[in-house]
Symmetry: C2
Subunit: 351 residues, 2 copies
């Protein structure tokens, strides 16, 4: 996963005038199905962004391999699932270019050129990579491709001349690394060849997992997926962490740290209703079961049409392939232009 969240509707709307010429670049690693965390964190916004800007979504299968090199089937198996997830939530191929990283050799070429402009020490200092290396418990076995993936990500962003990159704040160092490379290339060229990009910071808090402890994460196995069936949704809601001191319905309950309410905030279509529920819960007299019932209804309603569309798309793999191929062909043209310009900077455009 590129871990790229995007802004709230409000933020994107407010920036509309300023960003009219921006090019949005975002993407996901196909290492699992997308879940509700992605939905609020990025997918909803991508659906809005495609109305206003040129947007490219990269299915980052090469990046997926950086920590799955020895178990590549995980990545391959999730590519078309990811495309189905996109289409199911309303990403429109006529508005958004959905493309496959491994079918874009220009991105690999850019990565090679940029690798000579970034020191090993700089990569080792990258806070995002440092954290991820610690979390993944690679020990002494960090794959070279993992340490260097910020360079590959810079290739992804600049390969599309991306100017606006939806990210969570934990991903800001990636933007910084990209812009360092952009400035170095422009310095060597003695003119502006590549453009710096700006982060489009997520305004929504990261969705916690039902247990209330972790962020919702594909790798943690505690997710409600876009394709989760009604029973799985019910079970996940039932298991959600609430207020452990709210033992009797008549007791006053706490909202803070209460996962059910944070999901209601994120997913209930009527903020007023949620506000009233909160008041009632705080006063006492509103049981967890009641609140969970409201949340479940709302999630079932949200996910039923998405799941249905997703299944429909997945029933026609050839169509998914065709969509991905068409987007990739467009992306090939775009990225080839950029790699030619960068090769030119290094004097390597002989023929």
């Amino acid at each position: 996963m590129h871990n790229l969240n995007s802004t709230t509707q409000t933020h994107a709307g407010a920036c509309n005038a300023r960003l009219a010429t921006e090019k949005v670049l975002t993407g996901d690693r196909p290492t699992g199905s997308l879940h509700l965390g992605h939905f609020v964190g990025s997918l909803k916004q991508r659906v809005l962004l495609q109305q206003q800007y040129q947007q490219t979504i990269l299915v980052a299968d090469m990046q997926g391999l950086t920590d799955n090199g020895f178990k590549p089937t995980l990545v391959a198996a999730n590519i078309l699932n990811l495309v189905a997830d996109y289409l199911a939530v309303g990403i429109e191929p006529s508005k958004t270019t959905i493309c496959l990283q491994s079918a874009l050799p220009a991105l690999a070429e850019l990565t090679m050129y940029y690798s000579n402009l970034v020191t090993v020490a700089r990569l080792e200092r990258n806070p995002t990579v440092k954290n991820e290396i610690a979390n993944k418990a690679f020990g002494q076995s960090v794959p070279a491709g993992f340490l260097t993936y910020p360079i590959s990500q810079a290739a992804d962003i600049t390969g599309f001349m991306g100017t606006l990159v939806p990210v969570g704040d934990d991903q800001l160092p990636m933007i910084e690394q990209t812009n360092e490379i952009v400035r170095k290339v422009n310095h060597i060229a003695g003119q502006t060849i590549l453009v710096e990009c700006k982060p489009l910071l997520s305004q929504t808090p990261r969705l916690v997992a039902p247990d209330g402890k972790n962020k919702m994460s594909k790798s943690m196995g505690n997710c409600i997926y876009l394709g989760s069936d009604p029973l799985a949704i019910r079970k996940a809601v039932q298991s959600m962490y609430t207020d452990p001191n709210h033992l009797n319905i008549s007791d006053p309950g706490r909202i803070e740290g209460n996962v059910v309410f944070s999901y209601l905030d994120a997913f209930h279509p009527e903020p007023d209703t949620v506000a009233k529920l909160k008041i009632h819960y705080r006063q006492g007299g509103l049981g967890d079961g009641q609140v969970k019932k409201q949340l479940e209804e709302c999630l079932q309603q949200l996910l039923a049409p998405i799941r249905a569309k997703r299944e429909l798309y997945l029933s026609d793999k050839q169509q998914l392939l065709d969509i991905l191929k068409a987007g990739t062909e467009l992306a090939q043209q775009e990225t080839e232009i950029v790699v030619k310009q960068v090769k030119n900077v290094f004097g390597l455009s002989l023929f």
Copy 2:
């Protein structure tokens, strides 16, 4: 420079039967003109190898950038010089594929895939890279592309299904790294996709520089180049280190460490004449000037036609470009096949 020396004629001849199906892969970084060290160390052998085997020579411009990222004109300016050097010594484009690394995106793609199979720790242990990093005085600023260039070299070798790689013994760790990657890819595939390569170890000692202290090296600036003019050749021979205790012509002289004699061994067409000169020099009565005169004659004779051909080729840059382009197109076809097979191993051959 790939630093790939090749065997003596005898060795290559002796191995002829065994190696009949071998594919030779070799190359140079275009970071300077080729010199006499290359001539005895690799070029002569390539001229022979092309008679017996499929041979590919890679103009490794991308690798040249790994330590010249910020001064790329050095690399770009030397590409056609290198091709002219090859042609001048007798490499025939009809027998040897001469191709340009930067125009082969498949090699960049392979590098990306292999990067996930090699740990950072493994790269840091590579003795060749360790030495080179020490020699180049990068300090804390080793470019990522430099640390990872053994992976790129593995991509070069396997991208052409190279089975026989002419190297000096200092380059053996590169072969080892390549074969580790080959075995990992085959292990993931569950079958033989890539073939291991064998080093073709140089049997000739490395040519020392005229000062007798260093190896002849493009980066040291103490070379006799293939294109050196007669005066430069004369000066280099005149300045050669001999026997510092051989003060009078009548004194007995030492052959060991005497640069003039090591050059006579390497370049004089008649070993018997050299043997007689050695006896005479050891006995006393043979002046350094006389021996140098013999060497100079022999080098002038060797280099005059090479220099002339080189100048002729360099006078028609378009022809050089056409030759390089034709070879590169062939190489594109070859390497595309390999990258498709490797992508297939990772399940990424969707379209």
